[in-house]
Amino acid sequence: MHLSETVNTGFYFLAPWLVLAPVIGLLINAIFGKNFSERAVGTVASLASGAAFVVSALLAYSVAINHGHAVSVPFAEWIHIGDLRLDWTFRVDSLSTTMMLVVSGVGTLIHIYAIGYMHEDVRFKHEEGRFTRFFIFLNLFIAAMMILVSGDSYLMLFVGWEGVGLSSFLLIGFWYEMDTLARPSWANSNAAKKAFITNRVGDFGFLMAGFLMFWHLGSFQFDEVFAVAPAIAHDSPWVIVAITLFMLVGVAGKSAQIPLYIWLPDAMAGPTPVSALIHAATMVTAGVYLVTRSAPLYSLVPEAQYIVAMVGAGTALFAATIAVGQYDIKKVLAYSTISQLGFMVAAVGMGAYVAGMFHLITHAFFKALLFLSAGSVILGLERGHHAHAHHAHHDEKPKGKHKKDEHGQHGGHDDHGEVFDPGDMRNMGGLRKTMPVTFWLYMIGTLALAGIFPFAGFWSKDEILLDAKLHFTSVYWQLSIAAFFTAFYMGRQVWMVFFGEARTDAAKHAEESPKVMTVPLMVLAALSVAGGALNLPFKGFHQLGHWLEYTLGKVEFPPFDLGVALISTGLALSAILISWLLYGRNPLKEGQIDPLKKPLGFVFTGMENKWFVDEGYGVLILTPFKKASQFLADVIDWRFWHDFVHDTVIAGTYNWLSDVVLSRYADQKGIDTFFNSWGDFTKWLSGNVRRIQNGFVRSYALSVLLGVVLILGYLIFK
């Protein structure tokens, strides 16, 4: 462990500002936001996030000039009990600064984009404070994510882990009182709850890992844990296996892996910038970061690594197949995100930490780009819908009836009274003409995600595939097929959204988004094109690899394998070709069913319905759980505890005791009788004694005389 005194140069002292900057931003907005205009609120939030980016860059620079020295910057004392010292310490090394740069960089761009997006969100009815609240939550997320990536112990990492979970919950349910189409419903709150509760399951795993770690390894602090881990692994390897596998449960929750990925598609209920920032680019990669950070632990137990790799590869393939059957533009991207996270988890599971981190970075670029462009498409369609609806209204033309889709997901707006879902790709088509900027940005994102040379995704995905081929052949094949599906569903999406003819009036009248939205996208697009340069697979170009070597130790760089690259490119190109044959050559007509449905039959139905996983969970877990809860509530709690134990046993016994035993017997028979007899006796006594007082003065005088005689007699004869 290096203390800050050991390194004199650099900007390490700035580390706390990673968290303080966004916190100050959110406080300014929370306290003064009422008086700010929308633009001012957005600017404050963006500046706060931008400040965090500047700090991240300065920290990365400091690490670079100090040859990758990992530095711990103590910030605050937290828990001191006896010998136990748990402090809030920032860890600045090449791995954490990489994450900081990605989070704050992409985060800042998305903040700027959100200024434009939130203003136009159909659900935004210009309520006072709602806009401000959104940016407060965004800054809260940045702060929490910074705590996560900059923590110097598993405990601080967990604090951030929970913090981002909270921000995620708040932002998914941001429009808590309506669904994605602004109809009154609890759908969004339910999506938020689903995300939160599913993540609780993952957090349970993380907590168990933490407890085991503290019990057997004696610390939460990264360096201390890694220092004692090899000895423990030698004596009782099951400890490390248990820790790493419990950690995998946490990873599966946060990074949306099988079996806990189900919350991520529902999380698309949040505003699109949230989907881009939290549910694609940054928060969901926390699991990948966790495994990379725990590399010294995972390296000790190949069994756990194998399971991690298989979970990742399985998720990559499984989610990619679901993405093929989705119609909602954001749902496709959501499953794509799950699939790409599977790639990353598979990579870090195989020990290819550099490849995993590389893909994490490039994926942050192009997936944020895709999500934000999708948001632009949705808003463009929304604008077209508005323009057309008003137009039609003025011309007294009959409104075009929109077909209801098979799911019955027909949306509508209160002000139009018409059924329209601007996120459904079947309502789109031909947008390349009406939204040219968004189209080109989307194309860049698509090519990067599909892994086409020379876009960023090609290099990072190829590196994972190469490592997989060298270490895990089964993972390699799963990932290759997943890559094929990736290219296919992205091709399908692009053909459906941007090519062909407009299938609705809204698509026909779609309008391009303003500069505040497109400029951040252009930056992301540039990064998606050039991001591959971070770590080219040629000698002397492994910048990211060498950078991360400071933290991860020696990394092997397998030589570039032309075969792997050709196979993956070939698969991607053939997938795009097939998608063109199906969706590009004969564009979807209005009301036409998906051309894949006929040849694939029930397989496509499975894809369309997410392989019925949610229903499966419903049958396997939710229904029994609800039944059990119902049983516990009705029978155990109400009938047994309330009716029987409380009412009959406790209240009944009490009533019997007080009514019968105490009141009737002890009080009425015992105490009352005693005092009544005492009273009767007194009455009887007084009745007799009062006769002495007969009213004859002379008899009183006689009594006095007798008394005197008695006293005198006593005195004389005593």
Binding site: V689, Q693, N694, G695, F696, V697, L705
Partner: protein
């Protein structure tokens, strides 16, 4: 010189007569007179002993007793007058409103 025993005997006889008068008579005036008799019997005993022991304290007691008796008679006669005004009757046996 008459021996002191005689005085004491006379005092006892007077006291007894007074006591019997208080106990047996119904007229409050007579009862008062009987009480005076008892008081004076006591006075006689006081002065008899005072002369025997050659001390003034007995004689001083007698003065007090005479003063108190005068006050008592004054209060008692006033009460009797008031009772007679309200009840037209001073029979002591009929004054029994405090009967238990």
């Amino acid at each position: 010189m008459v021996p002191v025993d005689y005085y004491i005997a006379l005092s006892a006889i007077l006291f007894t007569i007074g006591t019997l008068g208080v106990l047996s008579r119904r007229n409050p005036l007579i009862i008062f007179m009987s009480i005076e008799l008892m008081l004076n019997a006591a006075n006689l005993a006081f002065v008899a002993f005072a002369s025997v022991y050659q001390t003034f304290s007995g004689q001083i007691f007698v003065f007090f007793v005479i003063a108190v008796a005068a006050a008592e008679v004054a209060v008692g006669l006033a009460l009797i007058v008031e009772i007679f005004k309200t009840r037209k009757n001073i029979n002591i046996d009929e004054m029994n409103s405090l009967k238990g």
